[in-house]
């Protein structure tokens, strides 16, 4: 008897170890995912219950809705500004500092500090800084931009905030990657007469390409999901110029009670992030150089 019990336990053991993770995966990822898909193909009433199936109608309405197209466009617009600018800025900072010279430690700390500040705190600070009537940004840069009221510039605030929040981590990753390039390779290239620009483009960048890819992919994904800063800083305004997909989902699904539409937007967000991951894998296979 005892021996059989032990046998059973022994066989179940691996499954038991994985059980909590699998349970969580089901409850908080797969089940809601399937339900969201189901909702997106139906009419859902105020209490969250499905009352009718309507196929692709929600999606057709969605893509005909100017409001949604604006959210889609804004999300891509944000990604288009944020991802390259972030990479550029962090790369510059990393290149300036990685060589372990005298002030390197001090500078490194400076660039890392934004990590200590939580997103909503940073958003509130930036709100004050960008305020056209009392904020420092306009004053120091001699600008008169109505950051909160001008649809052309409001996105700029979010991009700056995004870069600020991302510096801490991305900078560290880049510095780590740059430092992991063996000194011997660098010296060999220099001996062959490579100038600093060639060094950068032909030697360093290719060798840190896994890190570059990681940063680009992660930040692209974050762009698709941008919602927190929008909620705290701009609430999608002015004139919806900063309304992003996930924020729109919050507006429709939560604030507006329209679950079917909110779910349809969710599905679009899923598809986008999924394709980005696929793209990332392809890029990895093609362009990334592993030592």
């Amino acid at each position: 008897m005892n021996h059989q019990k032990k046998q059973l336990l022994h066989r179940l053991k691996p499954y038991l170890f994985m059980a909590p993770a699998l349970l969580l995966a089901y409850v908080f990822s797969y089940r809601p995912f399937l339900r969201t898909i189901a909702n997106s193909f139906s009419v859902v009433n105020y209490s969250g219950q499905i009352i009718d199936f309507v196929g692709l109608e929600n999606f057709r309405n969605l893509f005909a809705d100017q409001n949604f197209l604006t959210s889609l466009f804004n999300t891509f617009r944000f990604a288009g500004y944020f991802v390259p600018l972030n990479l550029l800025f962090c790369l510059i900072c990393a290149l300036l500092v990685y060589k372990k010279r005298r002030f390197a430690a001090f500078n490194e700390t400076l660039f890392m500090l934004p990590m200590a500040v939580a997103m909503s705190s940073a958003a509130l600070v930036f709100r004050a800084l960008f305020n056209p009537s009392i904020g420092v940004v306009n004053y120091l840069l001699h600008l008169n931009i109505q950051w909160f009221n001008d649809p052309r510039w409001a996105m700029g605030m979010l991009v700056v905030l995004g870069i600020w929040m991302a510096i801490g981590l991305d900078f560290l990753l880049l510095v780590g990657a740059l430092r992991s390039i063996p000194q011997s390779i660098m010296e060999a290239a220099e001996i062959e007469g490579a100038g600093p620009l060639t060094l950068l483009l032909r030697v360093q960048l290719p060798l840190i390409s896994p890190t570059l890819l990681f940063i680009v992919t992660t930040r692209l994904r974050d762009s698709m999901l941008l919602s927190g800063p929008v909620m705290v800083m701009t609430e999608g305004g002015p004139l919806r110029s900063t309304q992003t997909l996930v924020y729109h989902m919050y507006l429709e699904g939560f604030a507006g009670g329209n679950y079917s539409k909110g779910s349809a937007i969710s599905v679009v967000v899923f598809l986008l992030t999924f394709f980005l991951i696929l793209l990332a894998f392809r890029a990895e296979r093609k362009g990334v150089f592993y030592q």
Partner: protein
């Protein structure tokens, strides 16, 4: 061997303890007394308004609360739309336990609660309580909270929209600081004179008027035309779920848009959509419209930088005499299936709408008292004499038709932005009035149709 076992036992025990606490830990209640009935009140009042609310709550807890063993916890939940969102979330999940006992809701949130089984109409309490009579309350406010002939919410924070203006700027522009514009045509003329461009000719240092009208303003600007008008059918949703707008067939929207375009063409209008109040305080715009509930805050922030003036909302044109809508909000009671709590909520509500409480609320915010007895108090008369701006909203109320109602429609948040966007596109994009009316109406109608389909 033994050492190793002990070394791991302690942290594991600690971990289990923490995990247990966390798993079963919830918000710790401030109240220590088990005998007292504790009730929760959600509201969107912050800043000066928040302080007034805290004071009122403390007053209650220390007087009637002590007497009747009631403790009220007032919780700031964000802006009015946030309170509504939170309520809706709990209502939809069908978890009345997560609902508060009372909540202060404005027009944008009424739709979510009015049909709910978890909401107890105030009328029930009024009928059961012989000491309380509806006649104590301002009749217009009562009407504004009536749905299908049942009074569902208790008016608490009542306001009307005012035109705020900078008296010093008026004088400097050669305008009479005691005579604000009375129609939109006059507004256009005033705005033109008040606009100040920077010396470099590129930016504007002072707008004549700033703001983009949306739901709140339009309820009055549409409502005051042709005697009494509405934005949607079913009397702006007070008789049932609205199904479509009527401001297109009534022609009221077109009339307004034409008058508004006139203001824009004067050159003095700034299409600002956010922080307009702050712009006024900073002196960047000479006029703007907002609820009287901002009066105290504005006076406090402006200080003595300039003299603030307040006037009636300018009429759309000479024939639009309906006045303005009673805005603000009301307090709703939710059913916690507990007699003690229900009674406690009602006690608190009676306190909040008592003459003295309404006086304090009025003085500290600018909302006008809903309790008719407040107007008879000496303190009230003294305060109004010393601070005439606080009386403007009340006078305007008396000059308005009480049938003008706020609009109860779905997707109020989206509708708000849709209207603003339509107006801006019309002004800056050169879209015709008819086109604007048509496309905006289509959008809004679609919200109502979708809502009615989702909730047959």
């Amino acid at each position: 061997m033994l050492k190793r076992r002990i070394r791991y036992r302690v942290p594991i025990m600690l971990l289990l303890l923490i995990v247990t606490v966390a798993l079963f830990g919830r918000g710790v209640s401030e109240s220590q007394n088990q005998q007292k009935t504790e009730i929760e009140f959600w509201h969107p009042n912050s800043g000066l308004l928040g302080e007034a609310m805290t004071e009122l709550t403390e007053q209650f807890n220390q007087t009637i609360g002590e007497e009747k063993q009631i403790v009220v916890r007032e919780i700031y939940q964000g802006k009015a739309t946030d309170v509504a969102t939170k309520l809706r979330a709990s209502l939809q999940a069908q978890r009345p336990q997560d609902l508060p006992d009372l909540a202060q809701i404005d027009a944008t949130g009424v739709m979510d609660v009015r049909e709910s089984d978890y909401m107890i109409p105030i009328q029930n309490f009024v009928e059961a309580d012989p000491d309380f009579s509806l006649e104590q309350l301002q009749p217009g406010t009562v009407l504004s909270m009536t749905y299908k002939d049942v009074m569902i919410g208790m008016p608490f924070n009542a306001s009307t929209i005012l035109l705020y203006y900078n008296k010093d700027a008026f004088s400097k522009a050669g305008l009479d600081p005691e005579r604000p514009p009375e129609t939109l045509a006059e507004l256009a003329a005033y705005a033109k004179k008040l606009k100040i461009t920077a010396p470099d000719g590129k930016s504007i240092t002072q707008y004549g008027f700033a703001g983009v009208p949306s739901t709140y303003e339009l309820v009055s600007w549409i409502g005051q035309q042709q005697g009494v008008s509405y934005i949607t059918d079913k009397r702006n949703g007070h008789d049932g779920n609205p199904t479509q707008v009527v401001w297109d067939t009534d022609g009221t929207l077109a009339t307004f848009l034409d008058a508004w375009r006139n203001v824009y063409e004067s050159g003095g209008l700034g299409n600002l959509t956010s922080d307009v109040r702050q712009q006024f305080i900073a002196g960047k715009t000479a006029m703007f419209v907002i609820s009287t509930s901002s009066l105290a805050t504005i006076l406090d922030s402006v200080g003595d930088r300039f003299t603030v003036g307040a006037g009636y909302l300018p009429k759309v044109d000479e024939t639009a005499t309906g006045g303005v809508n009673i805005g603000g909000g009301a307090i709703f009671i939710f059913d916690q299936k507990n007699d003690a709590r229900r009674a406690a909520a009602w006690e608190f509500l009676k306190f909040l709408t008592s003459a003295e409480s309404q006086l304090l609320w009025h003085q500290r915010t600018g909302y006008f008292p809903v309790n008719m007895d407040t107007y008879e108090l000496d303190e009230f008369k003294q305060h109004t004499d010393a601070n005439p701006l606080f009386g403007v909203a009340i006078d305007q109320l008396h000059d308005s038709d009480p049938r003008i109602q706020s609009v109860w429609w779905p997707n109020s948040y989206q509708a708000y932005y849709d209207i603003q966007n339509a107006v801006i596109e019309m002004l800056e994009g050169g879209v015709s009035t008819d086109q604007t009316v048509q496309s905006l109406s289509e959008r809004l109608n679609r919200y109502m149709q979708e809502y009615n389909r989702m909730n047959p």
